[in-house]
Amino acid sequence: MRSDGRKNDELRKIEAKVGVISSADGSAYFKIGNTAVVAAVYGPRELHPKHLQDPEKSVLRCYYNMTTFSVPERKSPSPGRREIELSTAIKRALEPTIFIEEFPRTAIDVYTYVLEADAGTRCASICAASMALADAGIPMRDLVSAVAAGKVKDQIVLDLTKEEEDTEPCTDVPIAYMPNKKWITLIQLDGEVTAEELREIIKLGIKGCLQIYEIQKKALKKKYVRI
């Protein structure tokens, strides 16, 4: 039993919604436990300055940002090292799923804002961004689901909270997964594990991703079935 009463392989409570920002081409809201993220997608649209354009394919640009009120201590709104790094990680996690070669010389902009942070913000951002991309009508191979798994003390657990992340020793492995293609598009590791344990963590993470996928699917379909 964990500190918040979950089982080791249990996800936090998830809330997903599509089409939350009317002025964006596609948008999504994703909340897992106390972590809440909103994502907006614009494009494909014209890319300026022109030298950034790629005549073969579209350029995917991701912006990860944390709102100032998302953490207990006020966070500076300017993107620092961490934000720039995570933006790139999110971009790499999403790029394999999009048919970028269909829109040469354009840009697809993905903005993700963390409204509330309680660990797993990059995974929540990827989930929200992939839903927003689908909502924007961008051709994709698959949705991307992401969740962190890890090892807290000697337990292998799924979907860590901030409290668990701060205990020593703790290993955190965020995984982004394309459920139908069975591709892992993001995997990072922070901490120490043996190879055997890592295998177990990845297996657990993929299991979590499949559960998240079902929720994402339901949220996307709900937008159109509702009427």
């Binding site: 040469p104 051709p139 159109y224 009427i227």
Partner: protein, 228 residues
């Protein structure tokens, strides 16, 4: 023929497996070997051996022979730069616009079409580089004066027009407005103030509920109700 995993008229999302086997495909789908997956959020339609996903969202991607509404954004030396709501700017050359000879060195092109003017044009060429060419030859009216523009998802234009123009003709009849629908999802409406508001409401309702059956009846009811 092969196996099908989903039924017709279902909403599909990217990556969903639709079928396996020798099907013909149109629209938002992609193949991997024999398997057919959806690549966009859309409405699935299966007609015999044909699998079709009608996208429900997305930006306008120009095709040859599309009739579009555009806004002039810039005047060049020998033509105009036109925004047609696509990720690419379109070019309207003088040669495709004016029938008489114009000395480009002496004549100011803004005399014919100025920035912010609305035009109705045809896409005549979409090369691989996506330098889109427009033409206004054999089109009337070339320039759209007055009225207002509303923008909808280009994939919903067929529903706004309806079968053989039934939907758009009904809206025109009830609101007494002059309406032109561009393939790019830009719709130009000109009429009385109340007529314009009514037509806008009807079109936005079609956009919102395009995937629902029995839409024509609903729009008719709404137009009749609004008239009272």
């Amino acid at each position: 023929m092969g196996k099908l995993f989903l039924k017709s008229k279902e909403i599909v999302i990217p990556g969903e497996l639709i079928g396996e086997g020798d099907f013909e495909t149109v629209g938002g789908v992609y193949r991997e070997g024999k398997k057919i997956y959806a690549s966009r959020v859309g409405l699935l339609e299966i007609e015999g051996n044909l699998i079709k996903v009608i996208p429900l969202a997305g930006v306008y991607i120009p095709n040859k022979n599309d009739l579009v509404i555009g806004r002039i954004v810039d005047i060049g030396f020998s033509g105009w730069l036109v925004d047609i709501g696509a990720p690419y700017m379109a070019n309207l050359p003088v040669g495709e616009t004016l029938s008489e000879f114009v000395d480009l060195l002496k004549v100011d092109l803004s005399k014919f079409l100025d920035v912010n003017d609305l035009i109705l044009a045809r896409v005549i060429n979409v090369p691989k580089s996506k330098m889109i060419q427009l033409s206004v030859k054999n089109i009337t009216p070339k320039k759209l004066e007055g009225g207002k523009i509303i923008k909808i998802t280009p994939y919903k234009v067929p529903r706004v027009i309806g079968k053989k123009g039934s939907m758009i003709n009904m809206i025109k009849e009830y609101t007494k407005c002059n309406i032109i629908v561009g393939q790019n999802g830009w719709i130009w409406i000109k009429g009385t103030l109340t007529g314009e508001i009514k037509a806008t409401k009807a079109i936005l309702m079609i956009e919102r509920e395009s995937h629902v059956s029995g839409l024509t009846k609903k729009v008719k009811e709404m137009l009749e109700g609004a008239l009272k």
